[in-house]
């Protein structure tokens, strides 16, 4: 898979042109400060088909593969990481629904999300740890033709803005995924305020107090929720890796422009050997992250989804984004710390991506488990 198809190259170019045309630096810096969701950009992205490229065409998706979503998100994040992360999470719940939801649910919700009318989110965690998948605190009990849901989910992306949540609930002895519309009585949102990064994507705790939804809101089979959540979050790590890859590229581009122009001690910064070696290290890390991210997406598109590889890609690309943005700031010197030069935001967004869905230790647990297998 060492070449993208002509179609994928065209998608990349389209995403790049879109980002270049739509993303204005000053406006974005203000949005980020205000913690505003980039509504106009999101609507336009949906219009142009950049949301849910790997979801079925029947429901207004792109009918393409994960690799197509990867190049799209990479290019948008490369131009602006915070907007890219917001778009990366926009269809979070829909992507999960698309895998296991009933036709009725998919018909009712997917087009809305993919046409830019509604945001969505998966609500899987209940603890402080990133990447937590729990179904203890939130319970769903069947009462007549309805599910009655109680408890609280934590750190839910798009919390407060989403039109629906795919909630991992305890049902009997097992767990299930249930779609809960945001306007159901008894659902409340506790915003968690500003974060280090990803500030155009609001984060909230979502509490359920005797929230009633129809039995038909069950996503997939009852009792399979945990397995579904695991599979979905693994797949979603490919998209997180793509966002991190784009973030790394974005910092790298800005740094490169700067070191070629900035002169100190009578030479351009790019002419110092230490700068050059830093740049070489960054280039290598970006290349490796791109390869593993593309491979994880390609493997998934070939129908051989590999959760371990998804963890590896997420961990590697996020580390790269951190290291590249940190060194980009360093090469910018004092300017790197200033909002105006944007690499400080790359760094904050990179760290946020690294922690979301589980920092390195969480991914290593997953990778090691698979690498070692069973010990007798």
């Amino acid at each position: 898979m060492f070449a993208f198809t002509k179609a994928q190259q065209a998608i990349r170019k389209a995403a790049k042109d879109f980002a270049k045309g739509e993303l204005d630096k000053e406006t974005i810096i203000q949005w980020e400060k205000d913690g505003a969701f980039p509504t106009e950009v999101w609507e336009k992205a949906a219009d142009l088909g950049f949301l849910g490229m790997h979801l079925p065409e029947k429901y207004s998706g792109g009918g393409l593969g994960m690799l197509d979503s990867v190049v799209t998100l990479e290019e948008i994040c490369r131009k602006d990481s915070t907007v890219g992360v917001a778009l990366g999470y926009a269809a979070h719940g829909a992507e999960c629904l698309a895998k296991w939801g009933s036709d009725a649910l998919k018909e009712a919700f997917l087009p809305k999300v993919l046409e830019g009318e509604m945001l969505s989110a998966g609500a899987f965690g209940e603890s402080r740890r990133g990447g937590d998948l729990s179904a203890e605190a939130v319970t769903a009990e069947k009462e007549g033709g309805e599910w009655v849901i109680n408890g609280q989910k934590t750190y839910v992306p798009n919390g407060g803005l989403a039109g629906f949540y795919i909630v991992l609930c305890k049902t009997g002895d097992a767990a299930s995924l249930i779609l809960v519309e945001a306007d159901r009585t008894g659902l409340s949102v506790e915003g968690l305020g500003r974060k280090l990064g990803g500030n155009m994507t609001p984060t909230a705790n979502i509490a359920f107090d005797k929230v009633r939804v129809p039995a038909g809101n069950l996503v997939g089979e009852e009792g399979k929720g945990l397995a579904y959540a695991k599979e979905f979050t693994a797949e979603n790590k490919i998209l997180l890796a793509a966002q991190a890859l784009g973030t790394a590229f974005g910092a790298y581009d800005r740094m490169m422009e700067y070191v070629k122009g900035r002169e100190q001690f009578g030479r351009k910064l790019a002419q110092f050997q230490v700068s050059q070696h830093k740049i070489a290290d960054m280039a290598v890390k970006i290349e490796l992250s791109a390869l593993i991210t593309y491979k994880a997406a390609w493997v998934r598109d070939e129908g051989k989804m590999d959760p371990t590889l998804c963890s590896m890609a997420k961990m590697t690309a996020c580390r790269t984004a951190m290291e590249v943005s940190a060194q980009s700031i360093q090469l910018f010197g004092g300017y790197g710390f200033m909002t105006e030069y944007e690499v400080e935001r790359s760094y904050r967004d990179a760290k946020t991506l690294e922690v979301m869905a589980g920092a390195a230790a969480v991914q290593k647990d997953i990778i090691a488990q698979s690498a070692i297998g069973r010990i007798r």
Binding site: G125, S127, R128, R129, G130, D132, T154, Y155, L192, G193, R194, K195, L196, G197, G198, T203, E263, Q264, F265, V274, M322, A326, I329, Q330, G333, G334, Y335, G336, F337, M338, T339, E340, E344, R345, Y347, R348, K351, T352, E354, V355, M356, A359, A360, A361, K364
Partner: protein, 380 residues
């Protein structure tokens, strides 16, 4: 441990400073962060409490205390992550220029105010085109009768908005030599031709008022030259040892605080039904952090002793500044991983710590400048 000779007086003083931080500084942290500046009143309160300029002698209104008092204040302020109320910058970086090189008149005129907090100081060295390359500074100072006319732009000036007095580096345009033309000048707030530029938005240290300063035909009396004419560069180099030492002190103290958060959190946070501290990986990570901090601490405390004894420890100070700042950068990232998603929230101390510390490998000389000079000290 115990390299530094802290007396009971020192220890008592530390407790007082700590209590002051808890009562007078910590409760205002968020307010100052949001305002992007610390009110001048807070500086005056610090002065009243006796926590500004411990080195200034009684003759000029100061307490005339030893350097360990500065160390204590710096450590205690770093422990609460205070960036805007930059006592260290004022007391131990800027005021020493006046204290060491000022004339009797200058000292009498300015030092009492520096001690009381009525005069907040800033040092203006960096320019848009002269960051690491201090020798490249372009601001000019030309004599005109009894006056000196200053023109130029300074940037990234901490206390840039609040400052009442600026120690400014500028060059005599008639002298071609990069270094020999540089002198230091004292410029008071309100001098015609001296204006503030943008209050700069930055990743961290939000309560710190960082700004551009503009000098446009700004006339100051000749007696406002600080130290010997043409010795500006030498004075800057001489005082940079203490500036970098202060940075290292703040870094190590900051790292010690962050480790405390991490250890407390690891014990308290329950993940998968057990405390995070039961994880072997977490234990090892915290053990590594404690080791690195202790190595940095031991080296630093020795340097403080040498510095107090008047030794030239330029290169060692750079090692300490560079090592401690790089350590901090790595550690706060690892601590964020430990805290997980809740560490990302601005309501947690980790997020602010993460944002604030990124500048430490850059200001007071980048890691690359430190390494360049360390290499020189090795004869390379």
């Amino acid at each position: 441990m115990g390299v530094l000779k802290y007396t009971e007086d020192h220890e008592r003083f530390r407790l007082q400073v700590r209590e002051y931080m808890e009562k007078e500084v910590l409760p205002h942290t968020m307010e100052w962060e949001e305002a992007h500046i610390v009110p001048k009143e807070a500086w005056r309160k610090m002065g009243e409490a006796g926590y500004l300029c411990p080195c200034v002698s009684k003759e000029y209104g100061g307490p005339g205390l030893d350097f360990l008092y500065s160390v204590i204040i710096t450590e205690e302020m770093a422990a609460v992550g205070q960036a805007g109320l930059a006592a260290m910058l004022h007391s131990d970086i800027v005021v020493p220029y006046i204290n060491t090189y000022g004339t009797e008149e200058q000292k009498k005129k300015y030092l009492p105010g520096c001690v009381s907090g009525a005069i907040i100081t800033a040092v203006a060295m960096t320019e848009p085109g002269a960051g690491s390359d201090v020798g490249g500074l372009e601001a000019t100072a030309e004599e005109d009768g009894d006056e000196i006319v200053i023109n130029g732009v300074k940037t990234f000036i901490s206390n840039g908005i609040n400052c009442d007095l600026v120690v400014l580096a500028a060059r005599n345009p008639e002298i071609a030599d990069k270094h020999a033309g540089v002198s230091l000048y004292l410029v008071e707030d309100g001098t015609p031709g001296f204006t503030r530029g943008k209050h700069l938005d930055k990743m961290g240290m939000h309560s710190q008022d960082t700004a551009e300063l503009f000098f446009s035909n700004c006339r100051i009396p000749k007696e406002n030259i600080l130290g010997q004419k043409g010795h500006g560069f030498l004075m800057l180099m001489e005082k940079l040892q203490q500036e970098r030492l202060m940075s290292a002190i703040a870094n190590v103290a900051g790292a010690e605080t962050a480790l405390k958060w991490a250890v407390a959190y690891a014990k308290e946070a329950i993940v998968d039904g057990k405390p995070l501290s039961k994880s072997q990986a977490v234990k090892f990570k915290l053990a590594e952090m404690a080791t690195d901090i202790n190595l940095n601490r031991a080296f630093l405390d020795n340097l403080i002793n040498d510095h107090m004894a008047g030794k030239d420890v330029t290169a060692q100070t750079m090692m300490s500044k560079y090592a401690s700042s790089e350590m901090m950068n790595l550690q706060i990232s690892d601590i964020m991983d430990l805290f997980g998603e809740y560490g990302l929230l601005e309501s947690s101390p980790v997020a602010r710590g993460f944002r604030d510390q990124r500048i430490t490998t850059i200001f007071a000389g980048t890691t690359e400048i430190m390494k360049t000079i360390i290499a020189k000290s090795l004869g390379l």
